[in-house]
Every structure is written in structure tokens, then in C-alpha cells.
Amino acid sequence: MSTTTRREAGPAAATADYLDQRTGVGTAVKAFARKIFPDHWSFLLGEIALFSLVVLLISGVFLTAFFVPSMNETTYSGPWAAMQGVQMSEAFASTLRLSFEVRGGLLMRQIHHWAALLFMASIVTHMMRVFFTGAFRKPREINWVVGFTLMLLGLAAGFTGYSLPDDVLSGNGLRITDGVIRSVPILGSYISYFLFGGEFPGHDLIPRLFTIHILVVPGLILALVGLHLFFVVLHKHTQYPGSGRTDSNVVGYPLFPVYTAKAGGFFFIVFSVIALMAATMTINPVWNYGPYDPSPVSAGSQPDWYMLFLDGALRLMPGQAEVVIGGFTLSLNILIPAMVIPVVLFAALAAYPFIEAAVSGDKREHHVLDRPRNVPFRTAFGVSVLTAFVVLILAGSNDLIATHFHLSVNDIIQSLRVLLFVAPAFAFWITKRICLGLQRRDRELVLHGHETGRIVRFAHGEYVEIHRPLDDDERWLRVQHETRRPLEIEPAEDSRGVRRKGYRADRFRQRLSRLFFEDRVEPVTPAELAAAHVHGEHDTLSVGPAPAGAHSAITQGVEADERNH
């Protein structure tokens, strides 16, 4: 019987069998095909990043076939009228050739650039999801750091790629970078000369950036993406809280066929959205900016959006911070916004999982995600860091805000200087209040049920609104989490009045822990729920039947109610 089926097996099965007999791949395929992934739209955000990376690689290979990474001078003689007879570098000339002469070249350039913007945007969105749901907790802290490094590499890839066409806009960006490097005390000018191969702009930079952009950074990104995905498989995917979902199981669908189909289809959706944008919307029209020349700077010069916060920080910083010590200039006005602020923001982001773990003292593994409202401090912290980024991005766009909303640039800068400090604090406070409010609403809902809008009058004249109790799934979602309480420490002195060693360290830890966990709303306990049910007996009794039969049910309810009292 089995021999006949084997003989009838199609070419696919035969190929699979051929491979399996030689590589033993069947075991791996079997394990992977049955691997379970939980299902939620927000788990696809990382896939957007992955797929835009694939689009970047495909379009990037096309671009390298035509781009000339050279700063040698040439004279343009192509079809673009506004560049006729203009002296430019070969890098810029080949970018123009890609745009106007190579068939499909402009589309590919625009696909590559839009994909880069989406790559960074989806990484940030994915990081927000991971952060706000607490998916970085043990055992995933290392994967958070891997992801964070991927974001930095994305910035590096974006920055080096943005500078390659050697146009005025990207040249201005490089000039700012040069200025930032030179602001480093003592070493600054040496590093600048080393990087640019002499005085800015030199003749070495474009080939160097090219190597970093097409070899070093993509290689690192690919290696780390591999590690990132390996960790996802190793740790298994996190899941949102719900009935039946625990820290020791994964509820979802198998990789094959459900997710192979979903993810495969999603790749084509991502590619098509990028292609649609590239086909309809101009991005980085280098022919408008012209070949790089250190003298002109046009109004509206900005970096791509993911670097805009740095430009914004530079625009916000008051120039008076520059100090001269013994004839040496210390450019704090550049050093602080371009180095200190990003390092502080990024370090806070990278270290957060470790800080939270240290403060909570939690050593257990977590595979069920937090609902952001249930962790008010973390949610508020995340929102306030994002607010700081948004303020800096607005500062980076101050000239466009001024022209589009008819405001004074000076007023915008003054306001944003204040907002940079006030807005994150306010965002922290309001987010925390919202989280606590939502938790209270959850408590309320669990204890009293949904309002039905039906008001019932009893025989003795009392009015009650009927509440429909939550079903088991709804209730579980709202009571499954545990709240962290602030650390309780031993007193400073023992019963005999002797000072305890390590009290000060304990007190510091307690203060930190209070900052994180002091304000909280405890989830409903089974005892509280039981008490609420006894109290609200008449609600549950009369909720069942449809309005047509409600009358008799209410009468019964009244009788039951009277018996209870």
C-alpha cells in the first residue's frame, strides 16, 4: 500500500524526499512548520521593517550597477536642461544619469529612498510596540539591545546613503557633521581631517561612504537581523493577555500554512505600497539642489526625518553656550545638542529593560505582554521620551512651521526651548493619569459589569440600572495581571537601636521603586468580585431575557431582591 503511494507521489514530494535523504532537512521543516505564532496585527510591524529591508537590498543592488562613487570632476551633458554644462562630481552626474537616462532608474532611486524612510519608521513603530507592551522583559532583554543596535545601524545606513549623491542638500548635512566632529575637544579637527582625508570636503569621502553604505552597514544589519529572528524563534513569540494564554504556552496558528501565507502576502503588500509611493511622489529631487559646492545653502535644508531630531537640537541650542578657555574654544553650543542629547536619549532607550528589571527585582520570565495601562510608569516614560523626540523634530522643521503657519521663527524657537523641558514632563503626568484612570475603569467594569441602559423600577419604588456582568474572557483580560508594589525594606535600626548595614542602599532602591510603582490600581481579587456579586444580586437576576419577556423576569427579580434584604 505504502509503496504504491510513494510511486504516485508528485515531483514536489520526490524533490523533498531527495533533499531530506541527503540533508535531513525534514526534521527542521517539520519543527518550523508546526511552530506556533500568536496572531495580532501589531506583531506585523517588525515584518514591515524586514520587508522594507528586502526592498532596500533589491533596489540597492540595481543602483550600484549605475552609481559612480567618485568625487572626480566632470561636466554634465545629459538631457536635464538646468544642468547643461555644469561642473559636478561623477557621483552627482551618475545620480542624474540614473534619474533621467537609465530606464526605470528614477523609479528605483525613489523606491530605495522611500523604502529607507519606511524602514526607519517601521523600526521605530515596532520598538514602540515592544516597549509599551513590555516585550523586552526577561528573557528578551538581549534581543531588545540587538533591535536597538539595528536601529542605530539603520540610522548609519540612512545617513551614509543620503550623502552619496553629492548634492547641495546632502553636502550641507555633511558640513554640519564635520562641524559636530570638530566640536569634540582636542581630537575634533584630527578626526575631521582623518575622516574627510584632509580639509572638508576633500576627495575621499564619497568612496568611503559608499563602502560603508553598501558593504559594512548592510552586512552588519543582515547578521543582526539573523540574530534578532533567531532569538524570536528561541524565545518563542510573546502574546497578548487573554483567556488560556500563560507564560508557559503560546496560543496561535502554526507557521505553515497560516503565517507563510500571511507573511508572504504581506511582503507583496509592503513592496506594492513602496512602489506606489515611489511611482507617484518625488523623493530627494537632487536635480533641484544641484551639485555640491560648499558656498550655497538653500532655505528648507533638512536631513531625512530620522535625523531631524539632531538638527532640531542644534537649532534649539542657544549660541551663548560656546566658551573660550585659555584661547581654546569649547563649542558646548554644538557638543551638547549634537552629542550629549542623543547619547542621553538613546542610552535611556537601550538601558530601560535593565533599569526596570533592577528596580522591580523581577527575575521571572515573561511571555504574556503587559497592557500599557497596567504599567503606568513605563507607559508614561515612553510617551515622554517620544514627546521629547517630537519637540526636537518640530524644532528641526521650524522654518517650515514658520512659513506654513505664518509664525515668527524666533517665537517658534523660544517656545520650543521651553517645550523641550515642559512637554515631556506634562506628557509623563497626563499619560500616567490616563493609565490609572483606565485601570480604575477596568476595576469598575469587572465589579459592576456593563451598563445596559435599562432602568428598572421595583414594586417598592426603588430604581436600579441593570448591569450585565462580564463574560469570563472579558473579565480575565482585566484581572489577569499582577501589580508591582514598591519595595518594602527593613527599618534603619533593629529592635535594640543598632544601625543596620546597607540601609542607605536599600532606601535608594526603595525610592526608585516608589517612583515606578507607588501610584497603582490593584486588579480585582476573587474575594472582591464575590462581594460585589452578592451586593449586586438583582442586576444579575434580571439581565437574561429579551425585552419582550422582561416583565416577568423583573417581577421575579423583585421577589428575589426582597428575599435577599
Binding site: W41, L117, V168, V273, Y289, G290, A299, G300, W305
Partner: protein, 261 residues
């Protein structure tokens, strides 16, 4: 009404309410917004200095002085030439109506004949730059490549790389050149209105000015890459990457993940 009351707790209710409110506000605005007043053309007599003087006394003398000698609030117009008048009045900047960081272009207050009369009167006060001829400002006769090089070094730092405009200090701004006529662009370079520097023949020859006009004119053809997104650079690109790109992709993700969540 009962059906409406039953659905007021629906989770779509806030969205529906918001849409309704937007519709109502938009509708009310469309009905109640003041429409722009159209300046009634007055009957003109002969095109001469005398009529121009009368127009000047009626519309400009309050600020510029009875004989255009200037006052504390407005400069002297002796020697500014016909080009300055044609630009300021022809773009609606003069007569100024609102004080602010900078006089803004608005609906033109006079017809072509009256502007000519005003220009003739001001030109009669002292020698100054004249209104350029149609040949002087013909974009077809300019060299776009030279125009771009000149624009990049002389104009782009305020007006943006393609002339979309940009901000100056304290609420002043360099306006967009997209709707400016070639004659007005030429006159602006010649006379340097408000914050703009003067580009006289020593800086930019008449041919150079025509090249600049040709470059600005070439921008009206749009971008080979699709929609220009306002030609304001990476900020609008980033905004659309988030709004359209991430917007569509999250929409697709929600659709793909909708089945079980």
C-alpha cells in the same frame, strides 16, 4: 429617534459624531466666510502723470507724504522708479492695509491702467528703474542652467532651492515665486522690495535676470518623479512616509491580523 438612542453607546458613535461636527463646521464656514471683495474698477481718463498724481494723493499720500517725500512710517518714493510701483501695486502689496512684520501680497487694488498712471507719476519725481519690456522677461530666451547656478548662489538661501519661499527673522519671510509673473520677478530683483537685496545690473546683468526667470519658470512644469510634495524637502517626505506609508501598511497589518484578534 428611538433607533438613534439605542445606538448612542455604539463604539462607532464618537467617529460618527466627529465627522458630523466637522461637516457642520465646514459647511458653516463655507456659508459664513467673508468672500474677498472685488475692487470696483473706476473710470480712467488719459494715461498721464496728472491722473497718477490724483490717484497717489487719494491712496498713497497718507503714508508717503503729499509729494511722495516720505514720512516717519513710509519711505520716500523719489527715484524708486516705475518698476518699484509696478511691483508693489501690481502684486497688491501697496497700498498696505495691515501693519505687520512685512507687507503681504493681496488682491490687486487697481487696474492695469491705474497702475501705469501711478508708475508714470512716481517716475516723474526722479530717475529710477523702468518697467522691463516683455522681451527682457521672456523665459524662453533665458538659459535655465545658468539661471539655476545664479539662483542657487543668490536666491535659494531665502526662497528655497526651487523658489517655494522660506522664513526670515521675526515673522518676515521670502515669498513663494511659483505664482509671481516674470515681470514682477524682474522688478523685484531690480528694486529689492522690503527685506530683499537689490540685484542691479552690476550684480546680475539683464541676461542673467532672464536666466533666473527661465529657471523659476521651468519649475512650473512639475517634477519628473511625480508629485512634488510641495518641494520643501525631506520634512514633507518624512511626513508622507509616516502618513501614507506607515498608515497604509498598518491598515494592511490590521486587516491581515483581524481574523483572530
Amino acid at each position: 429617534m428611538k433607533a438613534l438612542a439605542a445606538r448612542r453607546r455604539s463604539r462607532h458613535a464618537p467617529v460618527a459624531l466627529l465627522l458630523m461636527a466637522l461637516l457642520v463646521i465646514g459647511g458653516l464656514y463655507a456659508i459664513l466666510a467673508p468672500s474677498t471683495a472685488v475692487a470696483a474698477p473706476t473710470a480712467t481718463s488719459t494715461n498721464d502723470v496728472a491722473t497718477g498724481k490724483k490717484l497717489f494723493e487719494a491712496n498713497c499720500a497718507t503714508c508717503h507724504g503729499a509729494s511722495a517725500q516720505g514720512t516717519a512710517s513710509a519711505p520716500s518714493l523719489v527715484g524708486v522708479g516705475a518698476a518699484a510701483v509696478d511691483f508693489q501695486v501690481g502684486t497688491g502689496r501697496m497700498p498696505a492695509q495691515v501693519s505687520g512684520p512685512q507687507v503681504q501680497a493681496k488682491a490687486v487694488q487697481f487696474d492695469a491702467a491705474q497702475i501705469e498712471q501711478l508708475a508714470a507719476y512716481v517716475a516723474s519725481l526722479g530717475a529710477g528703474p523702468a518697467i522691463p519690456s516683455a522681451d527682457d522677461v521672456d523665459p524662453a530666451k533665458g538659459n535655465v542652467a545658468n539661471g539655476m547656478a545664479l539662483f542657487r548662489t543668490n536666491c535659494a538661501m531665502c526662497h528655497n532651492a526651487v523658489g517655494i519661499g522660506g522664513p526670515l527673522s521675526q515673522g518676515k519671510y521670502a515669498p513663494s515665486l511659483m505664482k509671481a509673473s516674470p515681470t514682477h520677478i524682474f522688478e523685484a530683483m531690480l528694486t529689492g522690495p522690503q527685506s530683499m537685496p537689490v540685484f542691479n545690473s552690476a550684480n546680475l546683468s539683464a541676461q542673467d535676470k532672464r536666466d533666473v526667470i527661465a529657471y523659476i519658470d521651468a519649475q512650473k512644469q512639475g517634477s519628473p518623479g511625480g508629485s512634488t510634495l510641495g518641494s520643501i524637502g525631506p520634512v514633507s517626505e518624512g511626513l508622507w512616509a509616516w502618513v501614507i506609508g506607515i498608515g497604509l501598511l498598518i491598515g494592511a497589518a490590521v486587516w491581515i491580523g483581524a481574523k483572530s484578534s
